[in-house]
């Protein structure tokens, strides 16, 4: 099952518990618009190459649609649609005035030069500028797209529609980006970790964390948990992992990664495989790499009491069932990693108002949003006796549903 199929599976599970009926289910699951384009560019060597590009706009009942743009060889329409719907539920869980969208270009960015990526990005904007915009659909960074790509999108869109920084988020700080955007997802995880640990009678101080993935989310999460007094007992990236039951020296680990580009070979612990991190002896497991890494086999061996989904869809629905039976608390992606889109929203708000917030304001507003969302999901979970994931979907369906009913179809 792909992560897109898994998202739909969780949506259906919640919709059936709520008993919304087949036609309402279809209404909520079906995308508003799917744009498919052929993006042709001239490569540096003069060859012409054509790439497939997609933008799927899932739902706009709650506001302009929001979602990342990814560059990846595996991008396809189904996957983009599933991820677009995930954004609808995610923005609803954290109560942002947004709907959901997602886009992608089927390409291997490692094989393209910076100039070629720029041409590809600008050409894609040429083809979709009619359907995006600050009050329609606001792209943001995703797999293999960075602040520079966002800057090109802003520039190209502005050539058609006039100066429009709010058309895209995740921009560089020097070009209408927001302070705190880069650490936003990790900050969100930090706030959720504080809340859930308090709920189970613990605190971050002394809690043992295992983090799979040491990119934007995993590395910052390790640093923030460490700052709160947590012990990072295992980390890994695509090249390998390292573990230390007494806790890794996080600042030294960062120095190592800065020098070597990977956590592998860090001498402050014993080497381990990427998979070992998932089953490490710890209190909180944070899968923050890619989707589908925790399947039913892994789930049976997970030793953590709490799983924080830093990535989108790291646990398969089968694994989710096992966690439910075993009493392992899973904080779902649409809540746990919603810090990223929340600060994207703050960036958009600053752009729309032509103001700049200090990082403290971004952090405190983010904390408020994450706490409120966690509180609401927890409330549904306790009163309805449902797992956190189902509760989050119930909350999302409720919010999107209310907006849909009030606006009329």
């Amino acid at each position: 099952m792909t992560s897109a199929e898994a998202a739909n599976w969780y949506f259906k599970k919640a919709a059936r518990i709520m008993d919304v009926g087949e036609r309402i289910e279809t209404l909520l699951a079906t995308p508003l618009r799917t744009v498919s384009v052929q993006v042709s560019i001239e490569l540096d060597n003069g060859e012409i190459r054509t790439f497939k590009g997609y933008r799927v706009q899932h739902d706009n009942a709650r506001g302009p649609m929001k979602g990342g743009l990814r560059f990846h060889p595996d991008v396809n329409e189904d996957e983009v649609l599933g991820l677009a719907s995930l954004m609808t539920w995610k923005t609803a869980v954290v109560n942002l005035p947004y709907g959901g969208a997602k886009g992608g270009i089927q390409c291997n960015p490692a094989e393209l030069s910076v100039k070629e990526l720029e041409r590809l990005t600008r050409k894609f904007v040429d083809q979709i500028h009619d359907v995006i915009g600050p009050t329609r659909d606001i792209p943001g960074p995703d797999m293999n797209t960075n602040p520079q790509v966002m800057a090109w999108i802003m520039d190209q869109y502005s050539r058609y529609h006039g100066h429009s920084p709010a058309v895209v988020t995740g921009k560089p700080i020097d070009l209408y980006g927001s302070r705190g955007r880069e650490v936003a997802t990790a900050r969100g995880l930090q706030f959720i970790a504080r809340e859930i640990l308090r709920d189970v009678g613990q605190q971050v101080q002394g809690t043992r964390f295992a983090i799979q993935g040491f990119g934007n989310v995993g590395s910052h999460a390790a640093r923030l948990f460490h700052e709160d007094g947590g012990k990072i007992v295992a980390v890994s990236d695509v090249h390998g992992g390292v573990q230390n039951a007494r806790g890794l020296d996080v600042p030294a680990l960062f120095e190592h990664v800065k020098k070597n580009g990977t956590v592998r070979g860090f001498t402050g612990g014993t080497p381990c495989r990427n998979e070992d991190v998932l089953t490490a002896d710890c209190d909180v497991l944070v899968p923050a790499a890619i989707g589908g890494v925790v399947d039913q086999r892994v789930a049976a061996e997970v030793r953590a009491r709490i799983v924080l989904e830093g990535a989108n869809g790291p646990c398969t629905p089968e694994a989710d069932e096992i966690f439910e039976q075993r009493g392992v608390l899973v904080v779902p992606d649409i809540l746990a990693n919603a810090g990223g889109v929340t600060v994207s929203y703050f960036e958009w708000v600053q752009n729309m108002q032509h103001v700049t917030w200090e990082e403290e304001r971004v952090t405190s507003e983010l904390q408020r949003v994450m706490r409120e969302a966690y509180e609401k999901v927890g409330q549904i979970s306790r009163t309805r006796k449902l797992p956190l994931r189902t509760s989050a979907y119930v909350l999302a369906i409720g919010r999107v549903g209310k907006a849909t009913v009030l606006r009329g179809i």
Binding site: D19, G21, K376, G398, R399, G401, V405, G408, I409
Partner: protein, 172 residues
Amino acid sequence: MSIPASLLKKLVQIPIFQGLTVPEAAEFFEVALEQVIEKGRTVFREGDEGDALYVILSGEALVTKKGVELAVLSTHAVLGEMCLVSPGDTRSATAVAKTELSMLKIPSRRVQKLIRGNNLATLKVVANLAQVMGQRLAAINDRLVAADSKKKPDARKEELADFAGILNRWSF
């Protein structure tokens, strides 16, 4: 009254009298009375005791129920036939002469007596009546289905309202 054979031959073509031989029809209609009702007069009212059945010989009758027009009946149509199978029941509709009406009236008491005496002609009439009622029931069912499908646009509205109800019960 004695009814001319030419009229009896026409009467046995009416659905509820079909299958009667002319002598059988003569026997059945032996006690019939000819009645002429002026335009605008009432033949019977909804709620009256059903004491007779009528066959229209000429003219038109308007049948209504609670003020709603059900049918306009004309020559050789039968009125009040329900009293054959459920004697003593009240009239389920009102019949008014739309034009001057000439009708044959057969008292229900007389028909009940014939049934009790196993009169073949009367039993044939009752069997025909059962068939006619079956056809009417089928027609009513079709109209119910048609009326129900006309309501479809409303059903969607209710579905959205139902959804709103679900959302309220989950109280977000």
